[in-house]
Symmetry: none
Subunit: 201 residues, 4 copies
């Protein structure tokens, strides 16, 4: 994430960085990611496609990993549906997430970033904030459901998210299988049943 002059800062001297270059680089990264996958993408190729130089890239992001994170972080966040009961809202939100994992570069990129994280703490932070952003809509739906009484009040929201997303990610990432709406519906139904039953634990 490039530090940019905030409103009141003295506006650093010299030629300002080009927003156009930055956009072109991020676009090129996302496109090549979708086309070739993480490992096959080359910083040189990104530079060539963006019409930028490698110096311009590395001035903004310290490594290829960080560039990739920035590129996928630009994709739109999930929009939780306003209508329907809890089960339906959850299923719809998760389906959006699943589609996103299966039809955009993210699906191929996420494991690569996860693999790198072990040896790259800085990347871990960036990845964490990205993940948190992705999970937020699901949390919102859960909170609303609790407020409406569709779930017991004491539910651990993080735990519930793990229960809901984990199986889907397991199918898509680890097993490499496609996930359809039926599978998602079953997950949501079973997990909600379990959460309600274990409430008074």
């Amino acid at each position: 994430m490039p530090p940019r002059a905030s409103g009141l800062s003295p506006r650093s001297r010299g030629r300002p960085r080009s927003q156009a270059s930055e956009d072109a680089i991020l676009d090129a990264t996302a496109e090549l990611l979708a086309a070739c996958g993480y490992r096959a993408v080359t910083v040189d190729a990104i530079a060539a496609r963006a019409g930028a130089s490698k110096a311009t890239i590395y001035r903004r992001w310290p490594t290829k990993e960080n560039l990739v994170i920035a590129a996928i972080a630009r994709s739109p966040v999930l929009v939780p549906p306003a209508r329907g009961d809890l089960t339906e809202q959850l299923a719809t939100t998760i389906a959006q997430f699943a589609r996103y994992m299966q039809e955009t570069p993210l699906g191929g990129v996420l494991p690569a970033l996860v693999a790198e994280r072990t040896h790259n703490p800085a990347l871990a932070d960036a990845l964490a904030s990205l993940t948190k952003l992705r999970r937020q809509p699901l949390a919102d739906v859960l909170m609303a459901g609790m407020a409406r009484g569709e779930l017991p009040a004491g539910i651990d929201c993080e735990f519930a998210q793990d229960l809901l997303i984990g199986p889907v990610l397991q199918r898509i990432m680890v097993m490499g299988q496609r996930v359809d709406r039926r599978f998602i519906n079953r997950v949501v139904r079973t997990v909600c049943s379990g959460l309600r039953a274990s409430a008074g634990r």
Copy 2:
């Protein structure tokens, strides 16, 4: 997995491949994997440690990825406990799995392999069989539980495994957090409740 002469095959001519070399290579791979992580491991280093030549390695496995898969495929399978009720057996099995993911090279390697799979179908097969092997003990415990009546009879076993393993993998791999026995117990309890409640669905 190098094809080896089956019992009745005519024993292909020429000097047979050395089992000792193969073992040394796989051992060296596993050790270096544990010590350095996937990305930092070098084929040259593996060859040096194994006292083998690179040609001997590449004769058996076409790429570094395949070699790594073969190395981790040798690790012992999970041993489901014979005692305890369903909940306890499941939790113990999953805890073994979690420990394995968190304290052996597998944790660092799996995402890298998953990331490669998209662009490498041959690797996908190897990974699938590996995954299946890892999941088997959990399936056994579930079947036994159903036989004892601790779970309704009609449960989809694959689905149940996804529900149980998914949240754990989500925590470890995607979130990069450690998983303790308490978390596993909660997952098992909630999922089992859900499965029982949704049985007649």
Copy 3:
């Protein structure tokens, strides 16, 4: 021979190639050539000694052979003596050439390059221009001798050079024997006699 911007060319964009690297690489090549001989020289060793990377080497010369040619092409040309009669000047020039063949890497490298030429036309050109440069001083001495009347006017200069150098090279390269000043003197005397006698042919 890397193509370099000529005086009026628009100065190609990007970072220019480092002359310092180029010199270091050629120096290292010549030194290692002298120390180990052609076959034992390694591109990695050259890179290490020059403090350069292999990419920097291969950017300039497509193969090890071409690099070696460039390295030996830098050695100083023969300096024909200003004094003495034709016979003495020829003998001195040839003795310089013989010493050069016997005491520098060239002696070991030339046959290797000659051997490669058959299957490598690009190398043939480089070798031809190198050879021509080496023979020039001898041609100069012969022309001067003809001008002074020490040789008949109609002598074919290329032919005379072959007669003079051929026997020396035959001894050094093919027979692997050392050549001393006495042998050279005999060659020069005999060939000059023959050229004078066959003049009116």
Copy 4:
């Protein structure tokens, strides 16, 4: 040169070496040499073409170089013509040699062997005896010429051979040019003139 059981030796025990294999190997070597040149020829390729195994090759010749020498050593020696005066006999003999250098593998192989000799003394001996064999017919013609009085009696025969062969080899090997009968005639005439003139030296 493989040690072979002499007539009266006790005929070493075990299966005798196959002469057919040896011939096939030498034929394959010569053919591949002609087709690809020395450097591009592989011992594996020779073995495959000869239907032999590498062990069979290395049991007979210690290195690739020695094998190559053995292969080219089988080619027929030059046959000096019985008729004609000295000049014509020399020219014919040299023309045979030139044709041999230009139209058989020898031309491409000789420089490679010469290049190797520096770092391989054992090869030097083999090469020397080969060279001597090639030069013998020329020596015979010279001796006969001296006996007939066409050359002065005191001529150094080795020296004369260097003068005659050197220029031809220079043209063919070093310059990479073709040599025709006219060139050879000029060399012979000029050298003979020179030898006669310098006789009383």
